[in-house]
Amino acid sequence: MTPELGQLALILAMLLALAQSILPLVGAWRGNRALMAVARPAAAGQAVFVAMAFAILAWAFLRFDFSVQYVADNSNLALPWYYRFAAVWGAHEGSLLLWILILNVWTVALAAFSQKLPEVFASRVIAVMGLIAVGFLAFIIFTSNPFGRLLPMPGDGADLNPVLQDPGMTMHPPMLYMGYVGFSVAFAFSVAALLGGELEQAWVRWARPWTNLAWAFLTCGIVAGSWWAYAELGWGGWWFWDPVENASFMPWLVGVALIHAQAVTEKRGSLRAWTILLSIFAFSLSLLGTFLVRSGVLTSVHAFASDPRRGVFILAFLTIVVGGSLLLYALRAPKVLGGKPFQVVSRETALLISNLMFAVAAAMVLLGTLFPLIGDALNLGRISVGPPYFGFLFPLLMLPVVLLLPFGPFLRWGKGDMPVLKQLLLRAGIAAAACAIVAAFLVDSQPKAIAGMAALVWLVVGVLLYALKRWREMPRGRRYPAEMAGMLLAHLGVGIFVAGVLLSESLSVTRDVRMAPGEAQRIGSYDFRFDGVHHTTGPNWTADQGTVTVTRSDKTIAVMHPQKRTYPRGQVQTESAVDAGVTRDLYVALGEPMDANDIEGAWALRLYYKPFVRWIWAGGLLMMLGGLVCATDKRFRLKRSAGAETGTHAADGPLAQEARA
């Protein structure tokens, strides 16, 4: 009975979502306050019913209700409770339910914190969020019902895909979705602004922390996914330019551009139309990401089995959202233009350049990812674009960003002065060059590694010089407001990340070897000794577990236990063993036994030495932290009723001080 209640809750939620979107839009159009006032209660009601549906599905998983098809497909009696809970979003139907739940979390937060926005604007924003909810709820109800019954009820279920049975993977989808869906807030803001034909700087200021927060979650989701791919897939790589990875990376890139464009619009009023366009694109790419992952139109390592009807539905939804919002943009954007002029050497220009680079990078990734579809449509044959395409173009596009990054904060709004920049160029440049020369001796003249050291020093020295300048020139307490601190942290993160990428890519050693028990391999200064494989069991798997002892000049560094697990339905899953360190990771994965009948004999092993690989995720986490810290800035909270504050006043308030800083 309960699963049917879940289904019913979803239908009620959809009806409320319809009320939440249509009535306030009509109210805002006709100036009817009673209709506008429907927005918040309807949003709250929708959230209650969606949460109820989610809880019912989770409950079905926890108490092994295999009469529900989705539960029977994705869990079994042996699966531990935490993976049963994570299995709620382990496949298509449940992950959409998670999507809509997260959308409701964002909507309720928005409804709660938007009391000080003008009523017309706030009700439009909530209504747009409601429209998105209608689309996704219809998708769930009509094509992907998670509560479908399976009768007669089987005695035991199938299994959660073994690659998903990992702590990193349980975190990955919720974080990613928090990011994807979080961009809907900026999107709803832009659409509401276009509908109303005006965009006040105060509103953009109010929208900024939401975008930062969404972007931080997306960063966290991508980092978790990358870490999972590294630890779980047994290839030791951290990024593969796979379509599904690209799907999450495109909104991230546009999100970076959006965060910076919003800063310009909020402080100077410039680039309004561009900011609106970016927020439309960020959310559209989030939807496209969902579409790519869920429809199976592209060949990907991560793709899931799928139903073509679903692809068509998402495609139609995507067309309506992208087409509709771009049409609205074309009709209304000229109305919201404005802002202060700026000169060629100014902070605006620097931000604009970085914006363009990120937008072009997102377009480049989009083209490479969708090219197989284009090729198919043009009858070019079945083509895919290899990782070298991305590997060549992406660093090229990011090079100007990395070079310009330290200058950005030093530039003033409107008009920058050259001497400061020259001084910075000299100091950070000399430091970077000096370190590169020193590095050249340490890393056997590997150009990539040298570039990595130089980039690290260039970025970090640039950021620190600016932090020092603030320290010297600003009075105590005003030196590092949250917004500033967040920016410094995120920019430091870029430095750490770039260094991690270049150093680990160039200095890594990978070796696939055949090893008999007792044999050893030397990689760098580490000796890997293979001590054989024995059988072991876990809660819901059995495994061949190897023992590899790593020594360095006769001192034991680590004893590692890579596994080859077999799950109940015969799925095989490699569990690599990683010995983590700040300057290097040691990594061992089991291949296959050379003789399938003799697991105690020789095995194929994959051994890695990965210097500085951890810096990649550390950099990503710093960026995330930067986004979070930035979002907490007090300046972003509405103090007065925003209706009383006009755009020009807003720009002359705390912003002008910022500009003088």
Binding site: V301, I383, Y389, R514, D595
Partner: protein, 160 residues
């Protein structure tokens, strides 16, 4: 025409966008040309469609019982089949977890005489999943020829 600041700024922006777009377009075309990988099935390769591609991707099913491991190195040979063709493949390294008989795989590599030397072999994470392009390719190869024998590829696809 007088250049007021707004107009000047817009012109700068437009020029910057144009320049960036031009450079990006040239580079993208260049990079695409060098990195396009075609997916072919064994029967397409045997009918000569692979001529002209140095590197391409071979897609199909692993023929049951064809996997042979060398005793003293990591070299593996196996046969990839589709409805109308078969292609011996050689690979040195560690195969993915889901690699097994009757599994759909995509191997990247080049032809060396009559055999395909793979540098990378992918099998899918989700065991019920078959890449759409592979399904299409195999369906297309199917159309062209009468099915002479119900290959192993077919039995592998049936349980979907």
């Amino acid at each position: 025409m007088p250049m007021n600041p707004t107009r000047k700024r817009r012109l700068t922006i437009v020029l910057a966008i144009l320049a960036a777009a031009a450079v990006a377009a040239v580079l993208v075309v260049l990079a695409l040309q060098n990195n396009m990988n075609y997916l072919l099935t064994p029967s397409q390769v045997q009918s000569g469609e692979a001529a002209g591609y140095k590197t391409f991707r071979l897609g199909g099913m692993v023929k049951a019982g064809s996997i042979q491991r060398s005793g003293d190195s990591l070299k593996v040979t196996f046969t990839v089949v589709d409805a109308g063709g078969a292609m011996p493949v050689e690979y040195t390294g560690i195969l993915p977890d889901l690699f097994r008989d009757n599994q759909s795989v995509i191997a990247t590599g080049h032809m060396d005489g009559a055999r395909f030397v793979a540098t990378e072999v992918l099998a899918k994470h989700d065991e019920t999943y078959m890449p759409k392009e592979l399904k299409d390719a195999m369906a297309k190869a199917h159309e062209g020829k009468q099915i002479k024998e119900a290959g192993n590829g077919e039995s592998g696809m049936e349980n979907r």
